[in-house]
């Protein structure tokens, strides 16, 4: 009798402890936990920090409610309010995920736009540098900017927009340095006073050709063109190459710049290191004055000479020279046969106010 009573008590305990697990947890509980992980994976902390904070807090409250419910004796547990609570949490999570997606799209577009902007800017600066043969001063910065851009593209592809935005901040530094390096050269070609001076020089030369019925030569450095005039009218245009630093005005020996000014042919050399050559009278009086003034101001090396032997020569137009004007050999033959010693040669930066450098500067 006693034994059976003990067995009954034991069975009762066991059934309470083991047999009565009660109703299963609502699936929304697990789903809400999974959604929390989804939010974390989607970088909610970055793109929707407030929503994420609220979600985690709601999840915590939901779990506390669940714990409270679990505390009840299995027969009295009611998960319906928990289910409702977790449905709300899930809805909040879905909205947060949508918000994150929207934020990411905005960031992605913004980063892509800025990448495109800087790619265009770098390309413009490279084009300008190449136009004035000054790649050597700008390319170092531009290449660093391009390397940064390649990292940015990678970050954008991976959806690491915040890191991309951080890196984007250093790009203007590199492009600004590149622009700074070429600006002093470029600005001359957008300066109306300078261009007016060049135009006057060209007009004088053309008028001289007209008045005396002679040939004269005008070289436009920015267009890389040599125009042969006869009796004041353009007779032929040739494409040319100029000095390594050809876009600058020559100041001293070894600066590799092509001089600007009014010159004339002093010697015709039918045999030259560069096929045929027409020597001009660089340095003229203006060049000497400029040289002396620059030396006084300390703008040129202390022991530098003024230089000389500036020629229009053959050997090709695509190479860089030490400051001379290079032409294709067949065109050199033609020009050589037309002009004489004494033919005026005027070298200018440009005669157009809207030249390709001034237009490109506007795009910067």
């Amino acid at each position: 009798m006693i034994n059976s009573a003990i067995k009954t008590v034991l069975l009762l305990f066991l059934s309470v402890l083991l047999g009565c697990e009660g109703a299963p947890l609502p699936p929304e509980v697990m789903q809400a936990e999974t959604r929390e992980h989804d939010l974390w994976k989607a970088d909610a902390e970055i793109y929707a920090p407030e929503d994420y904070k609220q979600y985690k807090s709601a999840l915590r409250n939901g779990k506390d409610l669940l714990a409270k419910e679990k505390k009840r004796f299995v027969w009295f547990r009611d998960y319906e309010p928990i289910r409702t609570e977790f449905r709300h949490i899930l809805l909040h999570g879905s909205q947060a995920l949508q918000e994150i997606e929207t934020q990411k799209q905005i960031k992605s577009r913004s980063v892509a736009d800025q990448i495109a902007f800087f790619q265009k800017r770098i390309s413009t600066i490279r084009g300008l540098s190449s136009l004035i043969n000054e790649g050597k001063v700008s390319c170092r910065s531009l290449t660093k900017a391009e390397l940064l851009l390649s990292e940015l593209c990678l970050l954008n592809q991976r959806g690491q927009y915040v890191e991309a935005e951080k890196k984007l901040k250093s790009l203007p530094h590199y492009t600004a340095r590149a622009i700074e390096a070429i600006s002093p050269i470029l600005n001359r070609y957008a300066d109306a006073t300078h261009i007016r001076k060049w135009r006057d020089m060209v007009n004088d030369t053309v008028n001289l050709s007209k008045e005396r019925g002679i040939h004269s030569i005008v070289v436009s450095k920015v267009d890389k063109k040599l125009i042969l005039y006869h009796k004041g009218a353009p007779r032929k245009t040739y494409e040319i190459g100029i000095g390594t630093n050809g876009s600058e005005d020559k100041l001293y020996a070894g600066d590799r710049a092509t001089p600007e000014g009014k010159y004339y042919i002093t010697k015709k050399m039918s045999r030259s290191r560069y096929y045929k050559a027409l020597l001009i009278n660089y340095p003229n009086d203006d060049d000497r004055r400029q040289f002396t003034a620059a030396k006084k101001k300390g703008l040129i090396p202390k022991y530098a000479g003024i230089g000389g032997l500036i020629e229009i020569h053959g050997g090709g137009k695509s190479g860089m020279t030490y400051g001379c004007i290079g032409m294709e050999n067949d065109q050199m033959d033609e020009l050589f046969s037309i002009v004489d010693v004494g033919t005026p040669v005027t070298i200018v930066g440009t005669v157009e106010y809207d030249n390709n450098i001034s237009s490109a500067i506007k795009r910067l």
Partner: protein, 198 residues
């Protein structure tokens, strides 16, 4: 009959005391699991196994929630919580053991990318050395030299990242340098060919 009732009451009481008394809060297990997770994080889990570290952290929170549930119960049973904590500890230990290999792999990948970048820059420099010098040099050679100099500068930046164990960033930068160096080499080759034809 009265003796039987007393006996029954005593048995029930003994069982209750047994059940309640045995349910001791798993403090040691909590501390062990936390320590294991902290140790894995210190090893670099958040950098080299970010998602796994987060999941383990979630598991630890779940185990703590389970303890909280049991804390409030009359008949406490921490077995499930202990199981969860043991799992967290085991997984954290195993993750910690994996981190050095992952770190090593990231390092090796970054080093390989750096080596490839160095080779590509050296190739570009070798080509530049062959480029025609002096008067008549192709107009873009000087610019390409500046490109190559910038690449050389950037190699130094990658080496700095390697020293500070920023292997992923180092690999990205090195890959960019390699691609750009190949581009520069192609341009030099084109310039040399153009020159050769003249």
């Amino acid at each position: 009959m009265r003796r039987t009732s007393v006996k029954l009451l005593l048995v029930a009481l003994a069982l209750s005391v047994f059940l309640i008394g045995c349910a001791k809060k798993p403090e040691t297990e909590i501390n062990n699991a936390k320590a294991a997770l902290d140790s894995a994080i210190q090893e670099g889990a958040e950098k080299y196994a970010k998602e796994e570290a987060k999941l383990l952290n979630d598991d630890l929170t779940a185990a703590q929630d389970e303890i909280k549930v049991q804390d409030e119960k009359f008949f406490k049973n921490y077995d499930k919580a202990k199981e969860m904590l043991a799992s967290v500890q085991a997984k954290a230990d195993s993750l910690k053991a994996e981190i050095p290999a992952r770190k090593e792999k990231a390092k090796n990948d970054a080093q390989a990318a750096l080596d490839a970048a160095k080779t590509a820059v050296a190739d570009a420099n070798a080509l530049l050395a062959k480029a025609p010098r002096g008067k008549g040099t192709m107009a873009d050679i000087e610019a390409l030299k500046a490109d190559a100099a910038a690449l050389q500068d950037s190699i130094v930046e990658v080496e700095t990242l390697m020293t500070s164990e920023e292997y992923f960033a180092a690999a990205d930068k090195a890959n960019g340098i390699k691609d750009k160096a190949a581009e520069v080499s192609a341009q030099i080759t084109a310039a040399l060919e153009k020159k050769g034809k003249k």
